[in-house]
């Protein structure tokens, strides 16, 4: 049974804007799933409908076999939501925010206290349990939203850009926490603008663009579609005036000591280094020019835009 099965989901807002144009999507139980898309693509509307914050116009949503129209209480019981924007009562202390959320799900107070303590400790918030929300930093608020979403132990956790605006250290610790959670059996759907995050965490991916699913595959398969990869090389000494011609590699001059190399996937970095050494070029360091997923993402979104322009 899929954790989430969506068929022909549509949403048209007042005023006629069509945010979703017939989404079909299935997420398997236990998956770590990335939902990507540019701003305004329909990601938050999609999540809002599943979480009962947005009324759908048409289509069907099932969560672990429960239909959203016929059994919304069962659907809601299965889902934990970490929204994109902070939605707290800023004058409540941290512990009370989590306890209240447990109460809304009908969890007895004694059990709620045990769970709240467990998740606040796991997310390094226990020492702040008596602090009012308005006194927390953005990163701590993001972590609290995760604790709050987990207190009823949902089978499906949906995170809408959970690491937006948090520093690298907190982001890495949140990644580690989410990996452990997924390993424990919780299905996770994640939207993010940090494509490195999706590549690092998720196994399956869907790209949503202009209210439609533009791509749906595993992260590994998607990355396999990249034919070339681009590296930036820092060199010892100056770049030769006449760049050597290397079969399978395209070399571009960036500045006196920096070279950009585009490499076909059927060639190896060993081959590149051997060819450069043969030409007397010594490499000090190298880095990817662009995140691989980001590049694919941009290519796909561009293709859709061109297709839409052509159709018009």
């Amino acid at each position: 049974m899929p954790a989430l099965a969506v068929q022909q989901l549509t949403k048209t807002y007042k005023g006629g804007f069509q945010a979703l144009k017939g989404i079909d999507l299935s997420v398997e139980e236990g998956d770590f799933f990335a939902l990507l898309g540019p701003n305004g693509a329909g990601k938050s509307t999609f999540i809002g409908i599943i979480a009962s914050l947005v009324n759908k116009t048409g289509g069907q949503v099932e969560v672990f076999g429960h239909d959203l129209d016929h059994d919304p209480e069962a659907v809601k019981s299965c889902i934990g939501l970490v929204p994109q924007e902070f939605n707290f009562n800023l004058f409540l202390p941290v512990f009370e925010v989590v306890l209240n959320q447990a109460g809304y799900y009908g969890i007895p107070r004694r059990e709620a206290k045990v769970r709240a303590e467990r998740y606040l400790r796991q997310l390094d918030l226990w020492d702040r349990r008596d602090t009012e929300m308005r006194k927390l930093s953005g990163g701590l608020k993001r972590r609290l939203m995760i604790a709050r979403a987990l207190v009823h132990q949902p089978r499906l956790l949906i995170l809408d850009e959970p690491t937006a605006g948090v520093d690298i250290e907190i982001r890495r610790s949140m990644w580690s926490f989410l990996r452990d959670l997924n390993a424990g059996g919780t299905t996770i759907i994640l939207t993010t603008h940090y494509l490195e995050e999706a590549e690092s965490l998720c196994r399956q991916i869907a790209i949503i663009n202009q209210g439609r699913i533009a791509e749906r595959s595993s992260v590994a398969d998607l990355l396999g579609k990249l034919h070339t990869e681009t590296f930036v090389l820092n060199l010892r000494g100056r770049v030769p005036a006449a760049l050597p011609e290397l079969s399978g590699f395209t070399l571009n001059y960036l500045d006196d000591c920096t070279l950009e190399v585009e490499m076909n996937r059927d060639h190896t970095i060993n081959g590149l280094f051997a060819a450069l050494s043969h030409s007397g070029i010594e490499v000090l360091s190298l880095r990817n020019k662009q995140n691989r997923l980001e590049r694919l993402f941009l290519e796909m979104v561009d293709r859709r835009a061109v297709a839409a322009g052509g159709a018009a």
Partner: protein
């Protein structure tokens, strides 16, 4: 019914959570929520009761000060039950923490009951506080405590529902003060708080009968003093009808997600 039996304990916990949250909210800020009504009513007692009231004499067979006590107590109940729900629910919309409830499996009627119970609680607390102040100025003997309590409960329920509907439609903090200022206050003052409608010409007596607050003020006056311009049965009947209509309307709004879902 099966669902209610199965989920009843869960619903009860949800209700308790909302209710407790509301009680804590208005007691934490008691200087803003409870004290103002007590001070205002004390001033009414001093000015209208002692200073002006002594010159008015009696009304309905009672000292003027005694006559206005029921209306002033009920005024506190009405304004506080209304403003508790309207400000609390609108704040939860404005800061978006209403989403905590909307994503939970709490049924709409439990959400509504929790907020209304919070409004009723504040109305009763303020009503009791005003009554204690009244006891300092008068030596009223309560005619029927049961009627008094029932009127307070029904009135607070009705105006909590009114506050809830106001909050659903409100788009700004200005919108939550329009109804209390331009509708509630005039209706309260014209609902027989400070006078008996027998003093009015026939035409205006007829007009006054269209004011729902008249029924509640008079029913409460009966509970406290044993006199009323309106038969008690009609007063209770009218209040119950208003509660049922506003309650049903609130549930329809919640079901459609008016003002809280896109």
């Amino acid at each position: 019914m099966k669902r209610l039996m199965r989920s009843g304990p869960r619903y009860w916990i949800t209700f308790q959570t909302i209710f407790t949250k509301e009680i804590l909210r208005f007691t934490r800020i008691w200087v803003q929520t409870i004290l103002p009504s007590v001070i205002t009513t004390t001033l009414y007692f001093v000015i209208f009761g002692r200073l002006i009231g002594d010159r008015i004499g009696t009304m309905g067979g009672f000292d003027y000060l005694d006559f206005i006590v029921p209306g002033l107590v009920l005024m506190g109940v009405i304004t506080n039950s209304y403003s508790n729900v309207v400000s609390s629910f609108y704040s939860s919309k404005f800061s978006r923490y209403i989403e905590e409830l909307l994503i939970s499996p709490a049924p709409n009627w439990v959400i509504l009951a929790g907020y209304v119970a919070g409004g009723v609680a504040r109305g009763l607390v303020v009503g009791a506080a005003v009554m204690l102040v009244a006891m300092l100025f008068t030596d009223i003997r309560i005619h029927s405590f049961g009627v008094m309590l029932l009127v307070c409960l029904l009135t607070a329920t009705l105006f909590s529902l009114g506050g809830f509907i106001n909050a659903i439609y409100a788009n700004s903090f200005d919108d939550i003060s329009i109804i209390p200022t331009f509708v509630l206050t005039p209706l309260t003052y014209l609902g027989g708080v400070f006078y008996s409608i027998e003093l009015l010409p026939d035409f205006w007596q007829g007009v006054s009968l269209a004011n729902p607050l008249l029924y509640m003020v008079n029913a409460f006056r009966y509970g406290l003093l044993g006199i009323s311009d309106i038969p008690l049965g009609i007063a209770f009947g009218m209040t119950l009808i208003f509660i049922l209509v506003l309650g049903a309307f609130s549930l329809i709004l919640l079901r459609r997600g008016v003002g809280i879902k896109t």
